[in-house]
């Protein structure tokens, strides 16, 4: 019972943690951004799971059904996805400039380049 009720969330949490791990542990900036992406996407999955109603259909009204998924999380996640891609684009642009300025996208090289550790 418990498993079937919550496994979804658990897997999502594992996904989040994988992403978070990448962000913290990886020294490569691009990898960090990928990690960030995975982290965020997993949060999206979590929200959508919250919005799921057993047997519910997509929240576009039709004569065929009366049970719909909760539309609110969908709306929120639409916004969050946009925020995610915006962040990613900005992060990648920053990485390109960092690469031009430092000649590397590895955190160690950058720190060494600035003489701080």
């Amino acid at each position: 019972m418990l498993l079937s009720a919550l496994y979804n969330y658990w897997v999502v949490i594992l996904l989040m943690m994988t992403g978070l791990y990448m962000v913290i542990a990886q020294g490569n900036l691009i990898k960090k951004v990928i990690g960030l992406n995975i982290f965020q996407t997993s949060v999206f999955i979590f929200y959508i799971s919250v919005g799921k109603v057993a047997g519910g259909s997509a929240p576009i009204l039709s004569q065929l059904t009366t049970v719909y998924s909760n539309p609110l999380p969908h709306v929120l996640i639409l916004t969050a996805i946009v925020v995610g891609i915006a962040t990613t684009a900005l992060a990648l642009a920053l990485i390109l400039r960092i690469r031009q300025a430092y000649g590397s996208v590895e955190e160690q090289d950058i720190l060494a380049g600035d003489g701080q550790c």
Partner: protein
């Protein structure tokens, strides 16, 4: 039109930003930005007056009542923070032109002002809204523009700092998002007041606790609370001077506002204090921030970096105020919010003037500046005095309230530690003053003596400096507003 004030506050800069983008001419867009900021300031002043006179203002966006739609809800706290942000922003942006012309290429200036307006609008949006998800959206507007603004710094380190901030900021924002998700899951609503009403029914659940923890950590990342502060010194010291002045005076303030809003309004102070050992946590972290921040600041030779660490310390003070969690404590926090904004804006603007003339601001470079740039150095000295908490400056008032609050609630040692902390700040401020007044300028470093900073920069700086003095002497406005806000927040009356 008066009924639309809450939304005008945010929508004005928000819509102005794309318009500014279309203007294309940099001087014009500067002027436009100044006017918009000024208008926002007027709106916030009106709002503050209205709130003080009539109490809470609610505004339903799209005409949909909360919790179905998003509502703006302005009480004394929001109005106060809005007032601070707009006031500082107006002063900073008015000073911006010469500094920005010197630090950015011509093609990037319009973009700079647009991003500035966006950041400004984002911060205001965070403060004005009464909807937790809306907070997230506007948090991202302000964050993204902040990253871009920081990256405009001259040094390549600015890029790296912006990236670091971006990663940490995004983690923080995502944490907040997770927290909001949990809250929504447990209550079915996103409206702050509605949440406050519905949370007590489920507050024993671990999910609510986790939501609280996530939101807390997320905000503290943005706030640069002590162990999570690592992004801040880099970001502040490498951003363009004007950006530093703006961010130091507003961004952390808004994050602090969020912290207060969530712990006190949404979760309720009783829950917040009982759920986690928050009181001791805040006080300990605050103290650690005060001491570590100040101690590290003492050893900095780059003044921007020194003041950035000092910000970490000052945030510590504000957190302590929340940790004390009495009316006076909260009032001290809110007062310091205002005073710290005033002093940091003044200091960083003065530094912008120094950087404009000398091209840098290390302790070595400002040697003997008291003679060549007396007004600028005077601003730094007075701002520094305010930072230390000298009597008759604004800084004293908030420190006073903080000490009073800690004694009042029986934390005697805390009062001692607080003043010990401000002693540390006296040390680094003294290093500034000593370098500026008591040391001879480095010989042969500069061909000609640097003149005074340009008037455009100097006047706003001094307006802020005088505000520091004025509000150190005539405190009725901040004291009455913060008292109202604090009693309202803790009074329990919705």
């Amino acid at each position: 039109m008066l009924t639309h004030l809450p939304i005008l506050q945010v929508i004005l800069p928000l819509v102005a930003a794309p318009s500014c983008m279309i203007l294309q001419r940099s001087r014009l867009s500067w002027l436009f930005t100044v006017l918009v900021s000024l208008a926002a300031f007027v709106v916030s002043a009106l709002l503050l007056q209205q709130v003080m006179a009539e109490g809470v203002i609610r505004y339903s966006l799209g005409g949909w009542d909360a919790p179905w739609g998003i509502e703006y809800r302005i009480d004394a706290l929001n109005a106060w923070v809005l007032f601070i942000v707009t006031a500082v922003s107006t002063a900073v942006i008015a000073a911006a032109r010469t500094s920005i012309e010197a630090e950015l290429g011509a093609s990037r200036q319009t973009v700079f002002y647009t991003l500035y307006l966006l950041c400004f609008a984002g911060l205001l949006g965070i403060v004005a809204t009464g909807d937790v998800f809306n907070v997230f959206v506007f948090l991202e507007i302000s964050s993204l523009s902040t990253y871009a603004l920081i990256a405009m710094g001259r040094d390549r380190r600015a890029l790296w700092s912006a990236f670091q901030y971006l990663v940490l900021g995004t983690i923080g924002a995502t944490f907040i998002l997770i927290g909001i998700g949990f809250l929504y899951m447990m209550t079915g609503t996103l409206n702050m007041l509605d949440l406050a009403e519905r949370l007590p029914a489920v507050e024993s659940s671990t999910a609510v606790l986790a939501a609280f923890a996530f939101i807390l950590v997320g905000i503290c990342l943005k706030l640069a609370l002590f162990p999570l502060h690592l992004w801040l010194p880099n970001a502040y010291s490498n951003a363009p001077s004007i950006v530093t002045a703006f961010l130091a005076a507003t961004a952390t303030k808004v994050a602090l506002y969020l912290l207060v809003r969530f712990t006190v309004t949404v979760f309720g102070i009783d829950f917040s204090l009982s759920a986690l050992p928050l009181q001791s946590l805040f006080i300990l972290l605050g103290l650690a921030g005060v001491f570590v921040g100040s101690a590290v600041a003492i050893y900095q030779s780059n003044i921007k970096r020194m003041l950035a660490y000092s910000s970490v310390a000052q945030i510590g003070y504000m957190i302590i105020g929340i940790g004390i969690s009495t009316v006076v404590g909260l009032q001290a926090t809110l007062l310091h919010l205002f005073n710290h904004a005033l002093m940091k804006a003044a200091l960083f603007l003065a530094l912008a003037g120094v950087a404009y003339r000398i091209g840098g601001c290390s302790l070595e470079q400002i040697r003997g500046l008291g003679r060549s740039m007396p007004w600028t150095m005077g601003a730094i000295a007075i701002g520094g005095a305010s930072l230390v908490g000298m009597p008759l400056t604004a800084g004293f008032i908030s420190k006073w309230y903080l000490i009073a609050a800690s004694i009042d609630s029986g934390f005697w040692p805390l009062a001692l530690l607080i003043v010990a902390g401000s002693l540390l700040s006296a040390v680094y401020v003294w290093r500034l003053v000593e370098a500026g007044y008591l040391r001879e300028p480095q010989s042969g470093q500069l061909a000609a003596e640097p003149g005074e900073a340009p008037l455009g920069l100097l006047i706003p700086t001094w307006i802020l400096v005088l505000a520091n003095l004025y509000f150190g002497v005539e405190t009725s406005l901040p004291v009455s507003v913060t008292e109202m806000a604090a009693t309202y927040l803790l009074g329990g009356a919705p």
